[in-house]
Symmetry: C2
DNA sequence: TATAGCACTTGAGAAATTGGAGTGCTAAAA
DNA sequence: TTTTAGCACTCCAATTTCTCAAGTGCTATA
């Protein structure tokens, strides 16, 4: 389909556009290919007809289309070794034994954000795979206590509970023991229903005054399944990219970043590193999202880099690859 | 200094500008004051000479200056009752007993953000006033454990610790007991130094293999003092304000919101509700920040509303006043 | 002290002008 | 068959010009 020179030209155009963010002209490629601009133009025309290139208007240079980027990512780019400078910055993170793995991941994505001016997101593990390991109940004052739930993966959540003064501390203790016995190993998601259908019916046998206690603990333990933790790096970085040069584009992307659905749109279930270009991202037509699932043993989630479609694919991919490797090395 | 009509005119101009975001002309005030536009113009000139009003260019209407807003806030505005509609939304929050106080505060500031299109920030309590109440150590796997610190105010922090396999679980237990005995009541801030100067010298007497354990716990317990929790409401809301109509303004304010110093700039130590207009805010010349310290008994921090200088001062102030009242009612 | 009248200033937007960068196409050369 | 030179054509982006409406300051008068 595509001749070799055409492939080379497509690659050159995309890489030039990634660097400069300006439409690429036939003339600017002459020296490189040692042919005349007219020859390049002929190939450009072919590439445009095949859908790999676009023009902004009839007499402008060419820019890559979404299809073009896709072809580039799938066929043309050559995953390089990570550059010495980049490597240096990342290495110090993962060889630093004082950092726990989660902090190391956060730091390393922040570094990617810093050196690329893209935005990074880490989506912490959802609680659905976490099994309740222990419920701790710690009194703070005479009618307040903190309920703490620890999962088998080391995830900790807590909530304050206020009890009426009538409740005896011994009863609290009993309730806590009962909860531990009955809920051990329960997926966090299932805690509310087990509370309601298995514990509520029998708690009266063990504990006086059980309504108050049951309600308090139900309240405390049933809100835990919710929130994923989201960690952004360089959220405002993407605004430095020249594609965001109008107020509307900026407001638009920022609103999306701040919206609540962002979490669902970013979550990735595939273990491979995946590239979602423009509309493929389901996030915004102007961005590319590169993401992957990660798994530290205790923890799993999504790593994502968000940049313009004109993203430096090779660089980001190799860096993510490296980080993923380090995580797997450490996380077992 | 200012005649009564001049005060009235200043007030009218500011309130009109708050409503419309457009310079106010002399003509537009004629009907209201039942004088000719020329008369209004004379007063406007005086107000401008006194520094309360500004013009964008020689033939434009007047807009309030920072000094004008300040005078308005200090002398002219009349704190109204909270409007029925606003009240309704807030009341349902604070009368809902299923919400703990912290969530109620978050929800209520989110409501302010929603109905005003300003941005709200809640700065959680710093740990400096928190005294260590308990250290819990919970094993997750055979070489991983979670260290949990609970403070007297019910604040909970946790960190995972990985130990070499050589460590005996009994020694961990002993260490944990020692830490609890020696650190009880210590301000979180002082934990690292006490670990180093009081515990390190003696831990060898109680625990075998203490270097490894000490190092692990030092690492786990000394990073707790740090992060304040920040809770934003409607972070992108402020972009809906017409003052942010150029790319630069938008990028600028967003970058500030995302910067790390924002926390220091927002933190408030005064118990009163304070108004910081424009440059007074030390945040951005284009915004006003209204903020106050809050104290729930278990928790203290800052509530802040960030909007354009052209903020609806009366409304925001009354709403914050109300919320502060509710917090104090509940928080004891 | 307030008003009517008028000259003056300015920004915002529309329309016209210009220059340059780039393309597509054709016909000739390799 | 592929490449190239040459040229007409298109469009944007930047600049200039023009016009209009909104609003002011000032002065003379009620």
């Amino acid at each position: 389909m595509l001749g070799q020179r055409q492939k080379d030209i497509l690659k050159a155009i995309i890489e030039e556009y990634i660097k400069t963010a300006r439409p690429v002209s036939s003339k600017s490629l002459c020296k490189k290919f040692k042919v005349s601009s007219a020859t390049i133009r002929n190939d450009m025309l072919d590439l445009e007809n095949l859908g790999y290139l676009e023009k902004q208007h009839i007499s402008s240079g060419r820019i890559p289309s979404e299809v073009g980027y896709r072809y580039y990512v799938d066929n043309l780019m050559e995953p390089k070794k990570i550059s010495g400078e980049d490597m240096l910055k990342l290495q110090t993170i993962f060889t630093n034994n004082n950092l726990d793995l989660n902090s190391a991941i956060e730091k390393s994505l922040e570094i990617i954000s810093d050196i690329t001016n893209y935005t990074s997101v880490i989506l912490g593990s959802a609680s659905k795979d976490n099994l309740l390991q222990k419920v701790e109940v710690i009194p703070i004052s005479n009618n307040t206590l903190v309920a703490i739930v620890i999962t088998d993966k080391g995830h900790v959540e807590n909530k304050q509970v206020t009890l009426p003064n009538t409740v005896d501390i011994k009863e609290v203790q009993k309730t806590s023991e009962l909860l531990n016995k009955m809920l051990f190993g329960t997926p966090l998601n299932d805690v509310p229903s087990r509370l309601e259908f298995e514990i509520k019916p029998i708690i009266g046998n063990y504990v006086k005054n059980y309504e108050v206690l049951y309600n308090a603990f139900y309240e405390a333990l049933s809100n835990f399944q919710g929130e994923k933790d989201v960690h952004w790096g360089g959220k405002a970085n993407i605004l430095k990219q020249p594609e965001f040069s109008t107020v509307d584009d900026v407001k638009n992307i920022i609103s999306k970043f701040e919206s609540k659905e962002i979490v669902n749109k970013i979550e990735e279930t595939d273990d491979e590193i995946k590239v979602y270009i423009g509309t493929e991202s389901a996030l915004d037509d102007n961005v590319t999202v590169i993401k992957t699932k990660y798994n530290t043993g205790q923890n799993e989630g999504t790593l994502a880099i968000i940049g313009p479609k004109r993203m430096d694919y090779e660089r980001v991919l190799t860096m993510l690859e490296y980080i993923k490797g380090e995580i797997e090395k450490k996380g077992d």
